[in-house]
C-alpha cells in the first residue's frame, strides 16, 4: 500500500500541476503568464484585436508557460565519452554505432609509459597487438586497466591514441524548431512577400508626395530610441534592469513603425532576449490603432484642416506599377543593403502581383504561404514570452516606450501633413499623415473615419493608402538604418 501511495506521490510531483502550484519555486510567475495569455486570447477572439496574429501569439504564450511541456526546449548536442566496455567493443570492431562518433587524439611517449610502470612497480601500461573481429591487426594501449586504440607510433617513441566520443542529440521542443525561422530572420521577409502581393502601390504612385508622410511617421522610432537610451541616466536604471543597450533601444523603438514583421525581424537580429515583449507590444498597438490615433489626430489639427476634400487621384498605368517595385528594390538595396531582405521580398511580392504573369504563385504567396508563416511566426513569438523573461520591469517599460513610439510616429505624420496643407494652400488633408505609421490598412481606415466625422462626404481612404504603404517601405528603411548602425 505504501508503495502504491509513493508511486502516486511521485507521479504527482512529476506533474505540471505540482510545478505550477509550487508557488515558492516560481510557479506563481507561470500562473500570471497563463492569465495574461488568456486575456490576450479573449482580446483576439471576443474583441477581434488582430486575431490572425494575437491568437497564435497568445496560444504560444500559454503553451510555453505550462510547466514541463518542453515545447520551447532547445535541442542539445552533447559529446559522451566511451565507457570502457564500449572502448573494448570499439577496439574489437564490434561497437554498434547508433549516433555519430568523433575521435579525439592524444599522445603519450614511451618514456611516460616507463615512468608510470616504474611508479606502480609493475607493468600497468603496455602495448598489445591483436586481430579484431574485422580481421584487422590493431595496436592497443592498456593503461592501468583501460584500453585505447593506437593510431600512430612514431620513430621518436610517441604513441598517438584515440578517445572516441559519441554525439548525443537531445531532441528539442516543437516550437523551438519552428522558432529557428524567427531566429534566422526567415519568417518576417516571407510575410513581407505576402504583404507585397496584397499591396496596391497605385495610390502612392499617383501621389508620390505621400512618401514624405511615410518618412515623417518614422519619427517615433528615432525619438523613442533617444528616450530609451536616456533611461540609462536614471540612478536606479541598472538596479531595476531598465538600462537599455543601443541594440535593445533600437529594437524597442522599431515598435513605432507599427509594422509587426519589421519589429520581429529587427529584434531577432539585435535583441532576441526582448522578442516576446516587443512582438506583443507591436501587435497590440497595431490592433489598438483605432483607439490610439484619433485623439492625437484631432488634437493636432483644426476642424478646417480635417474637412479638406482632396482631389481625385490620377490613374496609374500598368507599366508604372510593374516598374515601381524594380526601381524601389534597386534604389533601396543599393542605398541601404541591410534593408534588402524586407524590401526585396516586399517588392518581389508586388512585382508578382502587378506583372500578372505568375498568378498561381502570387495566389500561393498571399494565401497559403502567408497563412502558414503567420501561424509559425505567431505561435513561436508567443512562445518566447516565458515567465522568466517576460515578468520583469523591462516588459512594462517596453510596452510604455512602444506606446510613446507609436504616438510620436502618428504625430510626426500628422505634423508633416499640416506642413503639406500649408505649402499646397489647403489641398492636402493632414489626417492622411497619421496613416504613415504602416499598420496597413487599419491606419488608412482611421484617417478615413476621422475625416468623415468632420465631413461625411469626404473619402480619404485612397489618399491615406499612399502614406500607409509608404510607411511600410519607410519602416523597413528605418529598420535597415538601425541594423546597419547597431547590427
Amino acid at each position: 500500500m505504501q508503495d502504491f501511495i509513493n508511486a502516486l506521490l511521485e507521479l504527482w510531483n512529476d506533474s505540471g500541476i505540482a510545478r505550477l502550484l509550487n508557488l515558492e519555486n516560481g510557479g506563481w510567475k507561470n500562473l500570471i503568464m497563463i492569465a495574461i495569455a488568456c486575456v490576450l486570447l479573449f482580446l483576439a477572439i471576443k474583441k477581434q484585436f488582430e486575431p490572425l496574429l494575437l491568437l497564435p501569439i497568445a496560444f504560444g504564450m500559454l503553451l510555453v508557460n505550462l510547466p514541463l511541456g518542453g515545447v520551447m526546449d532547445p535541442q542539445r548536442n552533447s559529446m559522451v565519452a566511451f565507457t570502457q566496455q564500449e572502448m573494448v567493443q570499439y577496439v574489437d570492431g564490434t561497437y554498434e554505432q547508433v549516433y555519430p562518433v568523433y575521435e579525439q587524439e592524444s599522445s603519450i611517449t614511451l618514456e611516460d609509459i616507463e615512468q608510470a610502470n616504474a611508479y606502480y612497480g609493475r607493468e600497468v601500461y603496455y602495448l598489445e597487438q591483436k586481430v579484431n573481429a574485422q580481421g584487422d591487426t590493431v595496436t592497443v594501449l592498456h593503461a592501468n586497466g583501460d584500453v585505447y586504440k593506437v593510431v600512430d607510433q612514431s620513430l621518436d617513441g610517441t604513441i598517438t591514441v584515440v578517445q572516441p566520443y559519441w554525439q548525443h542529440f537531445e531532441q528539442g521542443g516543437l516550437l523551438w524548431y519552428l522558432y529557428q525561422g524567427v531566429k534566422f530572420g526567415i519568417y518576417p521577409p516571407l510575410i513581407f512577400l505576402g504583404i507585397g502581393v496584397m499591396t496596391d502601390f497605385g495610390p502612392l504612385l499617383s501621389n508620390p508626395k505621400s512618401f514624405l508622410l511615410g518618412a515623417a511617421a518614422q519619427l517615433g522610432i528615432f525619438i523613442t530610441f533617444f528616450g530609451a537610451r536616456c533611461l540609462n541616466l536614471l540612478p536606479f536604471a541598472e538596479e531595476w534592469g531598465i538600462a537599455f543597450t543601443e541594440t535593445q533601444a533600437a529594437s524597442i523603438a522599431i515598435i513605432g513603425g507599427a509594422d509587426g514583421p519589421t519589429a520581429i525581424y529587427l529584434t531577432s537580429k539585435l535583441a532576441p532576449e526582448l522578442l516576446g515583449a516587443i512582438a506583443i507590444a507591436a501587435y497590440s498597438y497595431m490592433a489598438l490603432v483605432p483607439i490610439i490615433q484619433p485623439p492625437i489626430m484631432r488634437a493636432l489639427t483644426t476642424k478646417k484642416e480635417r474637412s479638406v476634400v482632396m482631389t481625385q487621384l490620377r490613374t496609374v498605368s500598368k507599366t508604372e506599377k510593374i516598374i515601381f517595385p524594380i526601381i524601389v528594390t534597386i534604389l533601396c538595396v543599393l542605398l541601404l543593403p541591410s534593408a534588402a531582405p524586407l524590401i526585396g521580398m516586399l517588392m518581389l511580392g508586388n512585382l508578382m502581383r502587378e506583372s500578372g504573369v505568375v498568378e498561381r504563385i502570387s495566389k500561393t504567396a498571399q494565401n497559403e504561404l502567408m497563412n502558414i508563416v503567420t501561424i509559425f511566426l505567431g505561435v513561436t513569438v508567443g512562445a518566447t514570452a516565458n515567465a522568466a523573461s517576460f515578468l520583469k520591469p523591462t516588459t512594462l517599460l517596453i510596452i510604455a516606450l512602444g506606446l510613446i513610439a507609436f504616438c510620436v510616429g502618428t504625430a510626426g505624420g500628422v505634423m508633416l501633413g499640416k506642413v503639406m496643407y500649408a505649402v499646397t494652400g489647403g489641398k492636402v488633408n493632414p489626417l492622411i499623415g497619421s496613416a504613415g505609421v504602416s499598420a496597413v490598412p487599419m491606419a488608412a481606415r482611421v484617417s478615413q473615419k476621422v475625416g468623415q466625422q468632420e465631413n461625411p462626404s469626404n473619402f480619404l481612404l485612397m489618399h491615406a493608402m499612399g502614406p500607409n504603404v509608404a510607411g511600410v517601405i519607410g519602416s523597413a528603411v528605418a529598420a535597415g538604418v538601425l541594423l546597419s548602425m547597431f547590427g
Binding site: 528615432f222 530610441f225 533617444f226 537610451r229 536616456c230 541616466l233 533601444a249 526601381i327 528603411v477 528605418a478
Partner: protein, 121 residues
C-alpha cells in the same frame, strides 16, 4: 563628476546623432524615390499623350456600321475571324477573339462560319 558628465554627454550625443542620421537617411531614400517616381510618371504621361495623338488618325477609315451585334455566316468552324471583317473602333482584339470563340462553341459541328462584323452597341 567630470567623468559622469562626460558619460552623459557621450550618451546623449550618440543617441542624438542616431536620430539625425536615421531621419536623414529615411527621408533621403524616400525623397529619392519621390523624385524617381515623379520623373517616371512624367515620362509615362508624355508617352500616353503621344499615343493618344497618333491613335485617332489610324482608324478613321473604318466605315460607320449599323448597330448589329455579331453575325455569323456558316463557312467553317476553323476560321472564326475573317480578315475582312468590320470592327468598330475601340473593340479590343481579345474581345473579338472571345466573341469568335463563343460563336465557334455554339456553331453546329462540321459547319463552317466566318465572323463578318462586330459592332459595339
Amino acid at each position: 563628476m567630470n567623468l559622469l558628465a562626460n558619460n552623459v554627454a557621450q550618451l546623449l550625443g550618440d543617441a542624438g546623432l542616431t536620430i539625425i542620421i536615421g531621419l536623414v537617411v529615411v527621408f533621403s531614400v524616400l525623397v529619392l524615390l519621390v523624385v524617381v517616381i515623379k520623373v517616371f510618371g512624367e515620362i509615362m504621361s508624355r508617352l500616353d499623350r503621344v499615343e493618344k495623338a497618333v491613335a485617332p488618325s489610324a482608324p478613321a477609315a473604318a466605315p460607320a456600321v449599323a448597330p448589329v451585334t455579331a453575325s455569323a455566316v456558316a463557312v467553317g468552324n476553323t476560321a472564326p475571324v475573317s480578315s475582312s471583317m468590320e470592327i468598330q473602333n475601340g473593340i479590343a482584339d481579345e474581345t473579338v477573339a472571345a466573341i469568335s470563340g463563343a460563336i465557334a462553341c455554339m456553331a453546329p459541328a462540321g459547319k463552317q462560319y466566318a465572323v463578318r462584323r462586330i459592332v459595339k452597341k
